[in-house]
Symmetry: C2
Subunit: 272 residues, 2 copies
């Protein structure tokens, strides 16, 4: 395994490769990332993991400076998972002065996460576009946990005619049901206990659907009830392309939850 | 030569090609375009010309609907120039609903042409990015006449890490000195006569520089004088990266002129 900081060096290594799997991350790797890497390892000859805490997707007042940076541990995770290259660029290696910028889609980019974190998706799309162009992988792996991010990336690939296969990977949960997130480490013991209402609310939603309920407003209300101890940003059920729906479309819907637990913002979802 | 309207068909044809030269156009081909095509023909095994009047780069009130569309003649120009593929997509083939958009660089994208045609470069960059990704050429050819466009495209290629060589091609002029433009056909005889002040003003500027003058304000004033019969949008001298300069840098500067002659807006420039 090699740690590479320069774009030109990475391109040299990958230039003749026709089977590259790419896992873009912001580091602080957990078993959710490991699931992405394992999948990439199984499906490609060469696996590249990028570690880059992208400044342009953090908003004013968010946790950019205190976002966990755990490179020694991350490198070990990558090494043990059979990663070939870690791409670890400086900000100056990928950003320039007076750049063009990407504006997320006016509708789908500014609802839900895009509404609560205005501008977040602009920066996310910008760095993903850069990284996909740098690495030019055949396959790129993204977690379903950031469901709206995943949908926007799939849309970008279509709109900009990028030649990459976007592979969605299922959410990994701790034994108590909480979806893995680099931000879980911010939670105190009691906050973590309260946060378990999130996966429980998703269970409630999915059980209602399994029992035949289709009305999104009925399901959402029952979930809001289960989350009432928390500071709720939104509970929503959308189609997989993030269009609003009044009735659940089985096999094409996502139940989404975003809450604040203390100072920590957590999101979770279930594809139904 | 083949005329192709679908992205998938074009990709099929080009998939195994490693020497593709690309000339994106809005049709209404003249000898300026022919110079781009001839250069592409000389430097690549396969030459693709796209013809697409891109709606997103026309502003409210501009000439999108009346922009000259001369496909039969364009096809003949391409055929006689040895073009392999004309890519002639519908709007729906390259644009989708609720798209992400490109915002041109805040500084360099909103001065000069970007100031007089606010938003123009957003749409231009968007379509060029799409087309470059569709065609994936080794070389793409752009005229120096749209100097700011050229600089912004070169900047985009760098910022987004696109793998294409951007080839700038010199301005082609009519015998009377007027730079070729698809919009010249809008000019009446008397307007065309008056428009000749544009190349004359550039001559005046370049002669001053050759005689040792370096002050951009002195040169600009002399040029403004020569253009006083016309409705001037701007006369400017910038560095090739479009930064402002007070003193001409030989080999790294551009003299730019934008004027309106009747209802027709004309731009011209000289690289010095």
């Amino acid at each position: 395994m090699e740690v590479i900081t320069r774009v030109a060096d990475l391109r040299n290594r990958l230039d003749k490769e026709s089977s590259v799997g790419f896992v873009p991350t912001m580091g602080a790797l957990h078993n959710g990332h490991k699931a992405l890497i394992d999948r990439a390892r199984a499906e490609n000859r060469v696996v590249v993991v990028s570690i880059f805490v992208n400044p342009t997707q953090f908003l004013e007042g968010e946790d950019f400076s205190k976002y966990p940076r755990t490179f020694d541990k991350d490198r070990e995770v990558c090494r043990l998972s059979g990663v070939d290259y870690i791409f670890l660029p400086d900000v100056d290696e990928v950003y320039f002065s007076d750049e063009l910028s990407i504006l997320a889609p006016k509708e789908r980019g500014f609802t839900l996460e895009g509404f609560h974190r205005i501008g977040h998706f602009n920066g996310m799309l910008q760095i993903v576009l850069k990284l996909l162009n740098i690495v030019q992988p055949q396959n790129a792996y993204f977690g379903k946990k950031d469901a709206q991010q995943l949908a926007l990336i799939q849309q970008m690939v279509k709109e900009l005619f990028l030649r990459v296969n976007i592979v969605p990977v299922d959410i990994i949960r701790d034994r108590d049901g909480l979806a893995l997130s680099s931000r879980n480490r911010y939670l105190s013991h009691s906050e973590r206990d309260r946060a378990l209402a999130i996966p429980k609310s998703l269970e409630i939603g999915s059980k209602l659907i399994m029992s035949g309920e289709r009305s999104t407003s009925v399901i959402i209300n029952r979930m809001l009830n289960a989350l009432q101890e928390l500071d709720i940003d939104y509970v929503e059920i959308v189609r997989r392309d993030f269009q609003n729906i009044e009735s659940v479309e089985i096999g094409n819907s996502i139940i989404l939850v975003a809450v604040r637990v203390g100072n920590t913002r957590l999101i979770d979802n279930m594809f139904v």
